[in-house]
Amino acid sequence: MNRKKVTVYGVILVLILAIYAVVTGLTDAGVLNSYYSGILIMVCINIILATSLNLSTGFLGQLILGHAGFMSVGAYAAALFTLRAGLPDSIDFLVALLVGGLTAALFGLLIGIPALRLKGDYLAIITLGFGEIIRVIIINLDFTGGARGLRGIPKETNFSWVYLLAVLTVAIIFAFIHTRHGRAVISIREDEIAAEASGVNTTYYKLLAFIMSAFFAGIAGGLYAHHIGILNPSKFDFNYSVEILVMVVLGGMGSITGSVIAATVLTILPEALRDFSSYRMLAYSVVLICVMLFRPSGLLGQYEISLTRLFGKLSGSKGNKTTKNPASGGEKGA
């Protein structure tokens, strides 16, 4: 590893810690009340949702319209685990999150195996259908609390956990993209026939990316369940799936830093503009259409905000011409 890379990793780490220190410091000092820290927790949850959806939609190139469905599976699985398993508090939460993630991944596998064989837009429809079916099923089951919702989930999610998991999710997806497996996933987006002709097992990699997406959505669901304390099936509807999609599209399909920024802005902005909430979805739709018309690959496109590049410019040296640097600063906005 060259020295520049080490420096960049170091700076990113310092930035991550600094943001954490500032937020916890402000909370302890009483500047951030529980309303604000609640928003910050939702920012992190949405970052996990947006980056994980970006893996399927931005990097794999498959439109998913049921991301909230995977989130709900994870949320219910994690919440039910906490309520029923009765593990000691210290490990209960983490195991519950893992259960949430794995359950969502399992659902991803079950849907993905048949759906990913199909070309084109059918996956979008099938995931949409899945999101709707899951909701109907949750409402009609007894042990999920039905339409009244699932209550009494211990509120174990705090900023530290959710921040740590958001950073981890972003880092893992970022690292994954720059492995041979990540490149295989991208090649499917670029040209499936050429990918297949280059020896890429496209079915396998589609499934892998799709399951990873579902897994992280499940984790986000688990965090959400233990943040709010009550699960209501109507929360995880088509509109929520679209909200996550808007974050990915706005940030740029194929840009992780874009997703992080868009998730942050689009979580905070509606809170700041509460008085206009009836216009929110209308504004979302107009923005969505305009972005597609004038920048079909999203605002940042596939561009990543990169510390390496920034350093290159600051020190006045020509950008390094050797190999693509896997360590461009993805975690910056978290």
């Binding site: 190139g61 048949p114 079916i133 979805m281 209308l282 597609m292």
Partner: protein
Amino acid sequence: MGFISQVINGLGLGSIYALVALGYSMVYGIVQLINFAHGDIIMVGAYAMFLLLTLAGAPLWAAVLGSILFCVVAGVFIERVAYRRLINMKAPRISLLITAIGVSIFLQNLSQLLFTSSGRTIPSMFDLGTLEAGSLQVPSGSIINILTSVAMMVGLSFLVNKTKIGKAMRATSEDADAARLMGINTNHSIAFTFGLGSGLAAVGAVLYCNTYPMITPYMGGLLGLKAFVAAVLGGIGSIPGAMLGGYVLGVAESLTKGYISSSFTDAVVFGILILVLLVRPAGLLGRNVSEKV
């Protein structure tokens, strides 16, 4: 209610799906777009009916014609503003699909702002009471729906197969570039397809209002989705397929309501979709087209 009545009611409901499915199918055939906003055109048509009948006090025939005309214009306008640029620059299909989702959300929320989210009631329209034949009792609405949808399909088949504009549409959907070289204005045939599809959706809206007089800004979402399922079920791109898919879906839904539970109808609809895609991805009457290498 007897089994036969259930089936006839199902066919009545299925006729509405079928009319909407035709629009999905034709648009998909010509620009390979799942036009998510198509379902919301039903909502637009229904509100147009509502406004014309209650506020403007128009006679029934004028309200029906007016609402169809309004939807045709809306369909053409949406294509021009939201899709044409992307279609002509051959943008990735995912961009086009996201735009369509955007249009759908826009229409729903605009109508929510204009008419609030609470439902409106349409005054009664063609009410011939309940028809009886021996022990069989069928609401007249179902029969009207079935007859209208069959008439529409016959008309549409004639239009697509025998007229000049129909030929242009088929040529454009077969190969847009080649059609352009042959002097066909593909922009026109695409716009015409959108207008035609929207007009059919408006007919569906009229039938819907006649059968279920309660309308809301979000009524098009699920209705449209089910119509799309019908189009896929029948084989997307195929006109008889869309009709068949609509009828099958309507009957399946009606039977689920009658014999299982009304809360499971949506799950059954999507279950059917997933099953069909697994077993016969091209649909009941569709043909398999693989990408040219």
